[in-house]
């Protein structure tokens, strides 16, 4: 009896697996590239609903994607963790992810390929969209003072703690003495205010929120890491890039045009942000917009890879030549 029961469990489990596998293969065939009436290719883009992806919305509104015969449908995921599997499994054709996460994926053998630049640091100290901030009455004056302090980052072992360590190092401190804790960006202002953390690495709109509370920027971690750091990029799966080189080319062209346009029209960027986020107007007016260069900054990515390696983020050295086309 006992034996039968166990066998049955195994059989059921196998059937479940088979059923899910069958669903998987069935679902990706019809939707990888659906062509609409006017010959437009509909693309699903996995994004995070933040300031950084404003150029896509702006480009869509301005018709830059339509010119290329593309129509975008933004699919908002909570974080990069949901976007990479979504792209690799063919649920999204393109995705948005930070540079370090892409390197981690590449080093693990996940078949991802960068397609076009996403977002970059402004390169200006104290005037970047990402920053290390402290409370208004904090005794911390500069990055070196973070030694022995509790610093919040949104994801441990990723771009934000690696770059904060670099800020500490450049300021003459010992980055191994900083205690990092994981916290969502939107919870950081409250945690700072209550003294649960000593400092936080924030990006917009949290940066503006903290500043409005009287908080101070003590370091611009992206700027410290590299002049004009490439923070995030749009990517696809290697399979999609191989099978649809024309779509990839068109998406790249339209996105580059959108990035350039966004750089030149900050007011339109702020307007479009209010359509897909709920950032209050008073905060939105004070948000520091990132830079949107059309091309990524390769030396900055090399630096990021080196820092990640130093911090033990990768199982093996990421192959940037394979990741970037």
């Amino acid at each position: 009896m006992r034996c039968t029961r166990r066998t049955l469990t195994a059989v059921t489990a196998t059937m479940l697996l088979a059923a899910t596998a069958a669903c998987g293969s069935g679902s990706d065939s019809p939707k990888s590239e659906s062509t609409g009436d006017a010959g437009t290719t509909k693309l699903k883009i996995g994004i995070i609903p933040i300031v950084d992806v404003a150029p896509l919305y702006l480009g869509q509104k301005k018709g830059f994607y339509k010119e290329q015969g593309l129509s975008l449908s933004m699919t908002m995921a909570q974080g990069g963790a949901a976007i990479v599997p979504g792209v690799v499994s063919g649920q999204f054709q393109f995705g948005f992810s930070n540079s370090t996460s892409l390197m981690v994926a590449q080093s693990k053998g996940v078949p991802v390929k960068v397609v076009v630049n996403g977002v970059g640091s402004t390169g200006k100290q104290n005037a970047d969209f990402g920053a290390v901030v402290v409370n208004k009455d904090s005794t911390i004056k500069s990055a070196k003072d973070l030694e022995g302090k509790k610093v919040a980052v949104n994801t441990l072992k990723n771009i934000n703690d690696t770059t904060v360590r670099e800020s500490v190092r450049k300021d003459g401190g010992d980055p191994s003495k900083v205690k990092f804790v994981e916290l969502a960006f939107d919870q950081m202002p409250a945690a700072l205010d209550k003294g649960q953390i000593d400092a936080a690495q924030v990006v917009e709109p949290a940066t503006a929120t903290v500043k409005a509370q009287g908080g101070r920027v003590i370091a611009s971690n992206f700027v410290d890491t590299a002049r004009k750091l490439t923070v995030a990029m749009y990517f696809s799966s290697s399979q999609y890039v191989d099978q649809h080189p024309d779509v990839v080319k068109k998406f790249k062209a339209a996105t580059q045009k959108s990035l350039t346009y966004a750089n030149g029209h900050p007011d339109e960027v702020r307007d479009i942000i209010s359509t897909y986020t709920k950032i209050p107007q008073s905060t939105l007016d004070k948000v520091t917009l990132p830079a949107w260069p059309a091309q990524w900054n390769r030396p900055s990515l090399d630096t990021l890879a080196k820092l990640g390696e130093q911090d033990g983020l990768f199982e093996k050295t990421p192959d940037l030549d394979a990741l970037l086309p």
């Binding site: 049955l8 699903k44 609903p49 949901a82 709109p205 929120t209």
Partner: protein
């Protein structure tokens, strides 16, 4: 009519106290109003939400995922439950499998859902159905177990076939259990629908909460959470109403309150 209103009074009183506390805590400076806006500020934000067409779309998406998921889970749970409970030996054979699969938290399947369906409605359905199915199934199993053996034997003696026995003996006994299962499943389905939207970004109320959260729009976020809470209350009240109607003939309901 009055009898129906009176039991609601203590509940309303509790809500009022809760609202008053919510209003007072930030106003007294116990917490920063930037992070926990007073109740009235939240209500204002709620008014803004109600005037926004996108809010209603989100509400519709959540309710669609909830209703479809609940319907699938209920149908599947009842069918599987009746088959397992009435076919000889099937119950012993499946017991360990059910006990193995049932405690797996539905949210742990989120990565699987993303892999299979991305952020579509089907992702929500997968997790909602998974969580709600067990609630119904287990109740159906209990219900069938509760069938009076004498009644069952009598039915057999009168030559009733398996289908007729299910229809006339098993089903009336199991129905109160089934209704309990459905009521529990209705609440679980709502929780799961909103959680999936929140975590993987499928369209709906949960997703809207997430956008408000990452936008630092704190009053909007609490307003939406308030909506989710009210939805839960409504769904539970609705489920109880349906339960009472479906079981109006049953002693457990007939004994309840003045008829």
């Amino acid at each position: 009519m009055i009898a129906a209103v009176i039991p609601a009074v203590p509940g309303l009183l509790g809500l009022l106290v809760c609202a008053a506390l919510w209003e007072a805590v930030p106003r007294l400076g116990l917490v920063d109003p930037d992070f926990l806006p007073p109740f009235t500020t939240t209500l204002n934000a709620l008014r803004g939400e109600l005037a926004d067409a996108a809010f209603w779309t989100a509400l519709g998406d959540t309710l669609t995922g909830w209703a479809l998921g609940l319907a699938l889970a209920t149908a599947g749970g009842i069918l599987a439950g009746l088959v397992i409970a009435t076919v000889p030996h099937l119950r012993e054979l499946t017991a360990s499998t059910v006990e193995f699969l049932r405690p797996i938290p539905s949210v742990a399947l989120i990565p699987l859902a993303i892999l299979l369906y991305g952020t579509e409605l089907r992702s929500v359905l997968l997790l909602v159905v998974y969580a709600a199915f067990w609630q119904v199934l287990v109740q159906v199993l209990y219900g069938v177990q509760d069938v009076d053996p004498v009644a069952d034997d009598t039915a057999r003696a009168f030559g009733l076939g398996p289908w007729a026995r299910v229809r006339h003996v098993v089903w009336p006994t199991a129905l109160p259990y089934v209704m309990t299962g459905v009521r529990l499943a209705a609440a679980v389905a709502l929780i799961l629908a909103i959680t999936v939207e929140l975590v993987i970004g499928a369209p709906g109320l949960g997703h809207r909460i997430n956008v408000a959260q990452s936008s630092q729009a704190v009053p909007d976020m609490y307003a939406l959470i308030l909506v989710a809470g009210c939805l839960g209350v409504l769904i539970n009240t609705g489920a109880r109403f349906v339960e009472r109607r479906a079981l109006s003939w049953h002693q457990s309901v007939r004994a309840e309150g003045p008829a």
